[in-house]
Amino acid sequence: MRQQRLPAPAYPQAYPWFGVIEGDELEQGDILESCPVFLPPPDLDVHAERPVNATLQWKEQDLIVMSQSCDLVKGRRGVEDVLLCAIWKRSEFTGGHFLEKDSEMENARKGRFPAVHVLAASTIAGLEREVRVVDFQRVYSLPVGFLRRRAGMARRLRLLPPYREHLSQSFARFFMRVGLPIDIPSFTAKKK
């Protein structure tokens, strides 16, 4: 009997991109949506001698945890502040933004833009999300206690291995980049 060929699933069940998490456990790859981040004004001046009143701006931001999971284990001494990167929905890139174009998103998907990292869409029931882009140039830190409380408020997505490590590696590659002040001349450029 001829075996029927089925199309390969877009995301094989054996290696799902996301899991669903409830509670205040935090790990690298956890996504916190609409989380406030706080932006001190550039001219903020504080003094040790007296309290200072100031207006602080905050904004809602979708964030992904970049701190290592081992530093976020509850009950163990780890980090006091959690490192996070902004993530954007693909549909948020509008008005001529370069990532509005399929061709540029394809470049991003292939890792040709080291400042960004593409996350797959989520098809998890109740947590369906479109393709999103991690922005390595918008990095925040929030106190771990504050973030745990936010995390415990709702079910959320967690990026699973190996996609989590892939993200971490991309971030490391971007962070450790080195620009040389004087580069070695090209061997293939036309000689004058």
Binding site: T55, L99, A108, V116, Q137
Partner: protein
């Protein structure tokens, strides 16, 4: 057929839309109109067939924008493959994939396909370090009136000595 070819970042010019399909299983399906490739294959010793990828370039631009990357797949023998095996093994860009006197030269001597020959690549063209989300999408925001109180100097986090066990 090695499907890693699909991820080999080789640049090229758009020739026909369906040539962008890089996970095909036979070269015949992909390139029915390249008869020279078939002739090369026929001259091979049985059992030594291998598949190779040949990068081709957008001649007009000289540089190679990644978005136009395409693969050409051929059958060939290892001795004809030359640099191409390296290109596949390392998944990196190789500017010149064709051995000067290989059987492939015959194909690319045709004027119709001469423009497919790869051109010089520069590493900067592979990764765009400057591409960034400069203008962030709008998000809800607000202001807080806060009072900053001095909490003393920050102290280093006590770290347990891992050798104490």
């Amino acid at each position: 057929m090695s499907t890693e070819l699909a991820e080999t970042p080789i640049m090229g010019r758009r020739f026909r839309p369906r040539w962008a399909t890089t996970t095909a299983t036979t070269t015949q399906n992909e390139f029915p109109d390249i008869s020279v490739a078939s002739q090369v294959t026929q001259s091979l010793v049985e059992g030594t067939r291998t598949y190779v990828a040949v990068a081709y370039a957008r001649q007009k631009l000289h540089s190679l924008p990644p978005s136009v990357g395409r693969l050409l797949l051929f059958e060939g023998a290892p001795e004809q493959v030359g640099h191409v095996e390296d290109a596949i093994a390392t998944s990196t860009l190789v500017p010149y994939l064709l051995a000067a006197n290989s059987a492939w030269s015959a194909l690319f001597s045709h004027s119709q396909y001469r423009s497919l020959l790869p051109s010089v690549l520069d590493g900067d063209e592979i990764l765009n370090w400057d591409a960034a989300i400069e203008v962030a999408p709008e998000r809800p925001s607000g202001t807080l009136l806060v009072t900053f109180k001095y909490a003393g100097r920050g102290r280093p986090t006590p770290v347990e000595n891992p050798w104490d066990d």
